[in-house]
């Protein structure tokens, strides 16, 4: 399995390396140098889009988020309150297994092909690495770590310009997320000897065919840009394990300043709303009719909530390469049930076109 993953990563990288030399043949400045004065005065930026848009775009995105500490709704609760240590009363709100820190990383390769001006299809290939530290009441498992990694759900998107004005654009993106990520990840948990099915957070995909849809508005001024993005991911049916993840909605308001050619600071406010898990994976419960959930992350109603994050970052041109770096911190979280809270997220994006 591991060598299979490595081979896939190797393939993606080798593909990328193999196409890079073709980037050098783009000749837009030469074309521009050949235009007459009359042609230059007659040329509009729209004409240039028609003349010079690059058909292939490549993105490589690294994302990392860390979840640490607990919230009940939007009230902070301590690990001691959520952890059932055997001496107190067992309730629906405490558990004998307690995830303490969850780290999630994604490496996403995205390739877009422009069918026409402002109209593209893209495919995203995520590779997910996640790890959770736990404490538990079970002997020999008082402190343990579970991790999983592999290819996530591949997404295919179609993006088109709906309308444009002088300095404004409105775009629509619709797609489909394929259930390519595993929902059968196993690991050594205190439930039994050997490997067992891991909880929802440690799975690599949704197991369902999902429909991502997005609406993007951009207003481009001389010294700054601002915009609004709306996004929804609608889940369909239930997966082979008889559950589906909650629908996800997000809205963001952002602004980007054009300080100079190489540095554009960015600020965003992002609102997210995502639903509880519908159905249940019975394999991750324990045969205790009163308390079937050994950990909070095995209970479907302990998923979903609302979150507002502030994100700061910058678009940077470094050694002729375009990078975007962002750091986000939630300023408001209201989570369903008892859940680990996000503390920080980080992303680094590299983009090229050819």
């Amino acid at each position: 399995m591991k060598s299979n993953m490595s081979s896939k990563l190797l393939f993606i990288n080798l593909f990328f390396i193999s196409v890079c030399p073709f980037l050098a043949v783009a000749n837009t400045p030469s074309e521009m140098a050949d235009l007459s004065l009359q042609e230059l005065f007659a040329l509009s930026t729209d004409d240039m889009d028609m003349r010079t848009y690059e058909p292939w775009h490549f993105n490589f995105l690294y994302k990392r988020s860390k979840l640490d500490g607990y919230l009940n709704g939007n009230d902070k609760v301590s690990n001691d309150e959520v952890y059932f240590d055997g001496d107190e009363l067992r309730t629906d709100d405490n558990y004998p297994i307690l995830p303490t820190t969850i780290t999630q990383e994604s490496y996403i390769a995205n390739i877009s092909y422009f069918l026409a001006k402002e109209q593209s299809i893209s495919i995203s290939l995520p590779y997910i690495v996640q790890s959770t530290d736990h404490i538990s009441l079970v002997p020999d498992y008082d402190e343990f770590n579970i991790s999983s990694d592999g290819v996530g759900d591949i997404t295919v998107n179609f993006t088109t310009l709906l309308n444009s004005w002088d300095s404004e654009k409105l775009s629509l993106s619709v797609g489909v997320s394929l259930p390519t990520g595993s929902i059968d990840e196993e690991g050594d948990t205190p439930r039994a000897e050997g490997d067992q099915q891991l909880p929802y957070t440690m799975q690599l995909g949704s197991g369902t065919w999902d429909l991502p849809i997005g609406l993007s508005y951009i207003n481009d001024q001389d010294s700054y840009l601002w915009g609004v993005n709306l996004f929804a991911k609608i889940r369909s049916g239930k997966n082979d394990r008889d559950y589906r993840l909650g629908n996800r909605f997000a809205a963001s308001l952002w602004s980007k300043w054009k300080v100079n050619n190489a540095f554009h600071p960015v600020m965003k406010v992002v609102f997210q709303d995502w639903g509880q898990i519908v159905g249940q994976d019975d394999e991750i419960t324990v045969p205790n009719p009163k308390f079937p959930y050994p950990a909070g992350i095995t209970k479907p109603s302990n998923y979903g909530g609302k979150k507002v994050s502030v994100v700061v970052g910058a678009d940077i041109i470094l050694y002729s390469q375009a990078f975007a770096i962002e750091i986000g911190k939630p300023v408001y979280q209201n989570l369903n049930g008892i859940q680990t809270k996000e503390t920080l997220n980080f992303s680094l994006n590299w983009q090229n076109s050819f």
């Binding site: 591991k2 190797l10 980037l23 837009t28 521009m32 050949d34 004065l37 230059l40 729209d46 240039m48």
Partner: protein
């Protein structure tokens, strides 16, 4: 033990991705992030070198000095590689600087000034010169500038302050002027600006 091995395998995977990613960067040639308006302006700037006549005809090259933030980046260099000479056969040389001095200003035949550097330009420019001054600022013509790029919706247009051009003993071809909006700005404004700056 199994966990340690799993983590090590994961680290190797990440290492391979990072290594190959960074190895691939030197092979790639990302195009500069020059706005479409600035690509047109770069084309026009190079044409202006052919449609301007300076007093001193003996120069073998036309020095286009870019003062301040360079929004043309490598794009204009690549254009010059394609068209290295003016119509009269003079080599086009591009120099860039954040500061301009009274010693260096006279080496330029054209100065394209970042609007943020206009105060420095006016403070440095001698009272009499033979340099074509180009910029992109609403106040440029009123301040004594000669050729101003104007973003007109999705196109680029030219404003020309003819009195300032003539005052600097420059000639612009009618082929260029017929595309431009002729504005009679104050040719001497720059001198008064310079005096004010000196007094301060």
């Amino acid at each position: 033990m199994r966990l340690i091995l799993k983590n090590k395998q994961k680290q190797y995977n990440i290492l391979i991705v990072c290594l190959l990613f960074f190895m691939s960067i030197p092979f790639s040639f990302a195009k500069p992030n020059v706005s479409k308006h600035h690509q047109i302006m770069a084309g026009l700037l190079l044409h202006i070198t052919s449609f301007t006549q300076w007093q001193a005809q003996e120069n073998q090259s036309i020095n286009l000095c870019i003062l301040g933030d360079d929004l043309f980046e490598e794009y204009i260099n690549d254009m010059v590689k394609r068209r290295p000479q003016t119509r009269s056969g003079k080599l086009i040389v591009i120099t860039r600087s954040q500061q301009i001095s009274q010693a260096s200003v006279n080496t330029c035949q054209i100065i394209y000034a970042d609007p943020k550097k206009l105060a420095q330009l006016w403070a440095t420019l001698p009272a009499q010169h033979n340099i074509l001054l180009v910029s992109q600022s609403k106040e440029f013509i009123n301040q004594g500038g000669m050729v101003n790029f104007v973003r007109d919706n999705k196109r680029v247009k030219l404003e020309v302050n003819l009195p300032a051009v003539l005052d600097a003993k420059l000639k612009l071809s009618s082929a260029l002027l017929k595309h431009a909006t002729i504005i009679s700005g104050n040719p001497h404004r720059k001198i008064s600006e310079r005096k004010t700056h000196d007094e301060n």
